[in-house]
Amino acid sequence: MLTLGIDIGSTTAKCAVLEDGRDFRAVSLRDSGVGTDGPQAAFEGVLAELGVSRRDIDCVCATGYGRAAWQDADLRASELTCHCLGGVYVFPGLRTLIDIGGQDAKVISIDAGGSMAEFVMNDKCAAGTGRFLDVMAALLRCPVDSFAEAAARSKSPASISNTCTVFAESEVISQLAAGAAVEDVIAGVCRSVATRVGSLARRLDMREPVCMSGGVARNAAVREALSEYLQVPVLFDERAQLFGAMGAAIYAAKRKSKE
């Protein structure tokens, strides 16, 4: 049995194909999300990698903000459940998952059986999300992927507000105008995201082990700042950005096996 999960986010599209509910056979990721050709490209890409067609897939589950618009889905599940399933697959016994995606941040509390027990999400503000980092990257003329390396060089991280993206943007400009080193500002920006999301995590009955998922998980500076803020180790896996798609494939497999 092959099941496919497609996670259509605000900035990326990801796919994962699972065989018999156990082993992942292929994954794909495209850097364009809802409203672009990214989801279709990710979908076709993962099928091509496996050398199979849509007919060979027993069940497709869509997740992410674009889940409702993806016509070729047999099932739809929230990215909350999917990230939870993906996280538990990679880290068995996982109890807390922190997902920072392109436009939202969520903290999921997982029960001992591996099911989502409760969750909290960011409010309408973009602070504490990937979008916040994108805005800062453009302002600082430094790709987000280089943030961790730059932040590692920081000797004195700047203090950047986490209340509002626009406020933070003007703060960054002021800091740079006052002569702050770019790496200090970048470290401050990463801490800003970490404390914003960390305070969401503290609202829940946070238990270890804790992991991060979503695109921002790749940023070691945010992970480390989050770990420091929460005073717990924050686990990371290279597939963190794919947890949603992987979880969707697992969800599809679970549903199929119940039929």
Binding site: Y65, A68, R76, A77, S78, E79, L80, T81, D104, G113, S115, M116, A117, E118, F119, V120, M121, D123, K124, R203
Partner: protein
């Protein structure tokens, strides 16, 4: 065309009668104004029994703002208020009302301009300034009743005396403004009507304990307009008793106004998201979720035996009581009615209510063993809501409830 029994078109239905009463509250006030009578604007938690006993017509800006927002005109009026310099951080009901006082015509819900204002701060502090501003801008008297936030669990004798003196002074001021006279006998009638209406209302809302619930909880949000504007009138009592009867019949017949399979039952916390009522309602109904309980509806059921009892009731409205008392009321409702989850509207307009909800909802979730999920929205400003965010949160809540039911 055949009229479905119990529908808003069936003149014998409670829904029809309640809609008529709510509409009549506005038309009666307009007619009184045209006759040259003094008309007031009144806060929803002001003791309506006072103007009702005196026979003074009043309109309710909060109710008007909700109507304007539900009919899609909230953003227009909020923008007018913001153009006047009011911050978009203040309550959208206040912004809509302040804008209406400027433009004096909004077909979505018109009402006569006031000759005086009746305010009570037991609901929030923004209302105090909102009414003060209207009083100043329109150059009309403001009657302000101060009911302090109650950190204790009971209403003390001192508080009753403090508020009573203000109620009596309000009566004196109203007599002076309108020339009408207070009658104890008339007050007893109004009190009896108000209590009768409230009893029937609370009985109707409690019938949600049946499985499936005999009604869609969103019905309550419409019917409560009568609880706000007309609870002291005999026709309101009759219509509410009819509503409770209809719900009892639904239970006997196994029917419901919730037109879907009731897979899950939730409590909804906070004022309705009026500009997005259809979206918020459909997001639940499409997943088989019935909103069977909300403190917002029950809050307008006032039951008491005498003048002091009435004062005590107004000292115990939901926004004037401490977190523990407020929590216990909700826990009782959740347990009595039986719910699988709690959906919290983090209402950008209502700082007081939304401010204490993160902790209160955490405690409710813990006490009742139910998942709690919140979403951002606004009671009247459509700009403070994201449909996609709402949908994800509701789907997440559904998945948790489904997983718990399946014993996973």
């Amino acid at each position: 065309m055949e009229v479905r029994k119990g529908s808003s078109q069936d003149p014998n239905s409670a829904k029809y009668k309640l809609n008529q009463i709510a509409a009549k509250a506005y038309s009666d006030a307009q007619a009184a104004k045209e006759r040259g009578e003094k008309v007031g604007w009144c806060a929803s938690n002001f003791p309506v029994e006072l103007p009702e006993t005196l026979g003074i017509p009043v309109c309710y800006p909060e109710n008007q703002a909700a109507g304007i927002a539900a009919r899609g005109q909230g953003e227009k009026l909020c923008s007018i208020a913001e153009d006047e310099g009011y911050s978009n951080d203040i309550c959208a009901y206040a912004r809509i009302s302040l804008a209406y006082a400027k433009i004096k015509d909004e077909p979505a819900q018109n009402m006569p301009m006031p000759d005086f204002m009746l305010c009570c701060n037991n609901i929030c502090s923004c209302m105090t300034k909102w009414y003060e501003n209207l009083s100043k801008e329109l150059d009309i008297p403001l009657i302000m009743i101060d009911i302090p936030f109650n950190p204790d669990n009971e209403v003390s004798r001192d508080e009753i005396e403090y508020v009573k003196a203000q109620f009596l002074e309000a009566v004196r001021q109203l007599e002076e403004i309108t020339g009408k006279k207070w009658s104890d006998e008339r007050f007893r009638e109004v009190m009896a009507n108000s209590c009768r209406t409230s009893r029937a209302w609370l009985e109707a809302t409690a019938l949600a304990a049946a499985r499936p619930s005999p009604f869609n909880g969103f019905d309550l949000l419409n019917h409560m307009a009568v609880m706000v504007t007309a609870r002291g009138k005999p026709e309101a009592a009759e219509a509410m008793e009819l509503l409770a009867r209809e719900y009892r019949e639904n239970i006997e017949n196994g029917t419901s106004t919730f037109r879907a399979e009731e897979k899950y039952r939730i409590m909804f916390e906070g004022i309705a998201c009026w500009p997005w009522l259809r979206v918020t309602s459909t997001g639940l109904k499409s997943r088989g979720i019935n909103m069977v309980s909300t403190i917002y509806a029950d809050a307008f059921g006032f039951i008491y035996d005498d003048f002091d009892g009435m004062i005590e009731a107004y000292c115990k409205v939901p926004n004037a009581i401490n977190l523990e008392t407020a929590r216990d009321k909700r826990v009782r409702l959740c347990n009595n009615i039986g719910v699988d989850g709690l959906l919290v509207h983090t209402n950008r307009s209502c700082k007081l209510w939304s401010g204490f909800m993160p902790e209160m909802s955490r405690q409710i979730g813990e006490a009742c063993g139910i998942p709690v999920v919140s979403f951002d929205g606004d009671q009247a400003d459509p700009r403070n809501f994201s449909e996609a965010q709402y949908d994800t949160r509701v789907q997440g809540l559904t998945e948790i409830m489904a997983s718990r039911k399946a014993g996973e």
